[in-house]
Amino acid sequence: MRQHTTRFGLVLALAGLVLAGCDAGESAEDPTTAATAAGSESSASPADQGEEAAVVIGFAAEPLTLDFTTTDGAAIPEAMLVNVYEGLVKIDQDGEIVPSLASDWEVSEDGTQYTFTLVEGATFSNGDEFDAEDVKFSIERVQSDDWTISLKSAMDVVESVEVVSPTEVVVTLSEPSNDWLYRMTTRIGAMFSTDGVDDLANTPVGTGPYEVSEFVRGDRLEFERRDDYWGDAPAYDEVTFRYFDDGNSLNNALLGDDIDVVATVQAPEAMSQFEGDEYQVIEGTSQGEVVLSMNNTNPPLDDVRVRQAIRYAIDNEAVRATAWAGYGSMIGSMVPPTDPWYEDLTEMYPLDQQAATDLLEEAGATDITLDFKVPNLPYAVAAAQTVQSNLAEVGITAEIETQEFPAVWLEDVLTNHDYHMSVIAHVEPRDIGLFANPDYYFQYDSPDVQQLLAEADTGTVDEQVSKTAEAARIISEDAAAEFLFLAPNLLVANQSVTGLPENRVGEAFDLTTLSPQ
């Protein structure tokens, strides 16, 4: 992850974790939540009566700024993407890529040329019209120094952008990439106006259905519906995101009618207070794999048998129970069930203490002590304590050191690889490519996996699925990491709002699907 990282070819590998996403607290920050009508009076359908419909949604992780081009962190695209900024394409609930600012697109036979037809009449919130020049500007801007976040590397594959007409643009890739169009649904695909990028941190200018009306740091972010939005108007006139850094306060805010929706439940232990007709609980899958990462080059973890023993020794159910109160699903690999290449690998390493001790003996690692550096996020700290207890059963001493997240953890574990084990939720969508980067903090270097994933990106769609699935299996067999569980997409709301997303796909919390009951 130093300089050479950028040179490393695989787009997927780079697309890396939005770690900042993890700082959302327990839920690996992937709240997909919806809003509710303002307070309790929201039940009438406001659109009909000319009343203002409003909804207040509670989140855990607050954006540091509103500018995702220079500041990492999942909370920013969560709020801004789709709602304020739009891309040419977006992702729907089923994980399909669907039109947004591009009404249609065609891919050339060799997979390197994308011709986009743009919608007409779209405008930016500063009044500028959206056209093909903005597409060229936006894509090229990602490649320039103006973007600084590491995710920008997904745009490296673009060779040129050509404006054919105001509504038609051709993007040429240097080599075929299945992943590129998918990445265009994420923040790097957001369309900016040529004269709307002066103060992105505070004054975002996009083509989306909402604009930011107020941002009170530490408290809330308010959106107002744009009257001149080009597409279908969303149901709510006003949406407020409120930020709580504590899971209980978040729950309490819903109980106290301060908010209508908890977008990411951070205190799942207390879910029983939401039983009954007054509330709706929505549980689906997220993209946040909670990973027990291991430093594959740091002895004794450089021995595959030791890593495998660790996988056998861990009681994933107990981890899920203690870290997420039993919510979430078992994965067994770096692939959530919503990805096309998902395969159930949960039985590859069942809980088997005997197998673990045997492997450890075989490896001559019967009395080992590991540095277990854990970010100070509630779910991670909880999971770590269970892992520690599990490992103690097979004679492995894991010394937990909690580290401040993000600052200290990023530097110590992620950058300097000074660790044996850690726990973190990798919340970036389709992030299996992290295992193809030998410089990443896993330090996992498997030429097979690297080649399979490279071929998956350039091959046909079928090849992409089969090769990625095969790579996932190898990663799991090698015990490159232990995949503890997949964080749930867990929402609670009062009954005033509908259209809350069941599964969390993509980076945005899409406000357009919500409407009053």
Partner: protein, 315 residues
């Protein structure tokens, strides 16, 4: 006396400069880089260095210090590297919230402490006085965050009388504002009130023995009348002192209580700032807190000089 006030004020200024040096010095040793946090996990060393240069973090320390400190008197705390927002207005906003909280906590503390303390002193040989004294001991032993947790579970989750957290500024409706303020102020005030009541008790006990109180009683005033007319006024002097000291306890206590009640005050700003490695912000907040504490001490000193005729004569 004027000379003395002048000396005290000059001392205050010197102290403030020293404090700013300490705060700045402390922050420069903070590990973890704001640039790295902002750039995310795959940042290259070059881009981190470049961003640090952009922030001006590669300049000599004295220059950075002067840059920072010279803006302070005008309320210019700089612009955050992390959030790109000017820090001054943020601190002012948050400070207002915290001041409301501390003020309300102080009121709660006084409302509890003065009657309880006086009562405990007047009846210090009876069982009710002993019970009050014992209760104040128990009050001190309950940390404000625990009191906050208990209050939330009883008054908002169970009874539903008050919101469990959050903040409504007074401009948005007095009722909601007071409703939101009630529990945190109670949580802060209960503990401080218990501490304060003990001081009230002891000072009232002391004054009771003073000559002028005996004189008052011998003039035929009832003990209670004597207490109200003469005792409380004289007891006020040490209580004001303690109040000053407690002001700083309250300010710091507010950090924890703000966390429990999710109140966007200085405390939560500080904790967020630390987590995000927002150096300038943390520097600013710590500086403001320290200045507030020093200023309160100064006011207490000055008040003391003015209030107590004996001290005035002595110096």
């Amino acid at each position: 006396m004027a000379l003395q006030l002048l000396v005290r004020t000059a001392t205050l200024v010197v102290t403030l400069v020293l404090a700013s040096l300490m705060v700045f010095g402390f922050m420069t040793v903070l590990p973890g880089s704001a640039a790295r946090v902002q750039l995310g996990v795959n940042a290259t060393e070059e881009s981190v260095a470049q961003l640090e240069a952009e922030f001006g973090l590669d300049r000599p320390l004295p220059e950075q210090y002067w840059d920072w400190v010279s803006g302070l008197p005008e309320g210019d705390f700089g612009t955050s590297y992390v959030t790109k927002a000017t820090i001054g207005p943020q601190i002012v906003d948050r400070m207002l919230v915290t001041l409301w909280l501390v003020g309300a906590g102080m009121v709660v503390a006084l409302v509890i402490a003065v009657p309880v303390g006086t009562m405990a002193a007047v009846r210090h040989r009876t069982s009710s006085g002993t019970v009050l004294t014992a209760l104040s001991q128990v009050g001190i032993a309950i940390p404000s965050f625990l009191a906050g947790i208990l209050l939330v579970s009883v008054f908002s989750v169970w009874l539903g009388w008050f919101p469990p957290g959050g903040w409504t500024p007074p401009s948005r409706g007095l009722g909601e504002f007071l409703g939101g303020l009630a529990l945190p102020a109670l949580a802060l005030g209960l503990v401080q009130g218990s501490v304060l009541s003990r001081y009230v008790r002891s000072t009232v006990l002391n004054t009771q023995r003073e000559d002028f109180m005996r004189t008052a009683r011998s003039k035929g005033l009832l003990p209670r009348q004597a207490m109200v007319r003469h005792g409380l006024r004289n007891a006020a002097i040490p209580v004001v002192t303690v109040l000053g000291i407690q002001m700083s306890t309250l300010l710091v206590g507010a950090v924890v209580v703000e966390k429990v009640f999710v109140i966007p005050g200085l405390g939560s700003l500080l904790l967020d700032g630390v987590a995000n490695r927002d150096l300038l912000l943390v520097q600013g907040v710590v500086m403001v807190l320290v200045v507030a504490i020093l200023a309160v001490n100064w006011v207490v000193d000055v008040l003391y000089t003015i209030l107590d005729p004996r001290l005035r004569a002595a110096t």
